[in-house]
Symmetry: C2
Subunit: 137 residues, 2 copies
């Protein structure tokens, strides 16, 4: 295992289109798959919490994406933690909807912008020391 720099972590995160968003709901941890987009230092999350009426606005969320392979047990894992807010401006929402086409299911989708305070990235490398991400996977 080797630790990744913040820059490498964000670059890897930008190579995939989905991850998992984590929020506290009434002190209970809640996790849902979500599509995302890296924009500069920010993470744009296309979040769907199912029938949940409340979205984490101005609240700390965590977001994880990885390419860890069930067979080879190799890949990378990136976790961002920081405050997120719902993007409320109609023009911004329209811009983000043009930028990507979220494919994970879910009604009542909201777009969140997260400003990461903490970036954690690890790479699981094989016995030969060859990182899986070097293959572009």
């Amino acid at each position: 295992m080797r630790e990744l720099t913040d820059g490498d972590s964000l670059r890897l995160l930008a190579t995939v289109r989905f991850g998992r968003m984590v929020v506290n709901r009434h002190s209970v941890p809640m996790i849902r798959p979500a599509n995302h987009l890296v924009e500069g230092d920010d993470l744009i999350i296309y979040a769907s919490l199912g029938g949940a009426p409340l979205y984490p606005d101005r609240q700390v969320v965590a977001y994880e994406a990885d390419t860890i392979d069930h067979e080879t047990q190799l890949g990378w894992c990136v976790i961002l933690t920081g405050p997120a807010e719902v993007v409320g401006d109609d023009e911004e929402v329209a811009r983000y909807e043009r930028l990507t086409d979220p494919w994970l299911p879910g009604a009542r989708r909201r777009i969140l912008r997260m400003c990461p305070d903490v970036v954690t990235g690890i790479e699981l490398v094989g016995a030969a020391g060859v990182p899986r991400s070097a293959n572009g996977s």
Copy 2:
């Protein structure tokens, strides 16, 4: 997308060996990859929170595993939520260590037993309606 029964969700979860554990730490959501084992209706989590001194003992945790493919956008996603406790009995710890060989990195590993209150499972099926999990992936 189709929803999975609790039984199907647990059976799929048992076909893979890792997922992501979510806990609240000082009101901040924290997510870490972890190896797991389904034992009856319980989930055994081989948790590593890095240098964190505290483990979620008698606290609600969430656990997610999926086989969603970055390319095909197909697969399944199962989420369990419920109270977990650290397995403290030495003989039980030894038994769980014999039952599986956790391969995700991390010092200070603890074994948690979670009794799921809520089981959520979805399957993302392709245009042909063929579930990816039917291929065993």
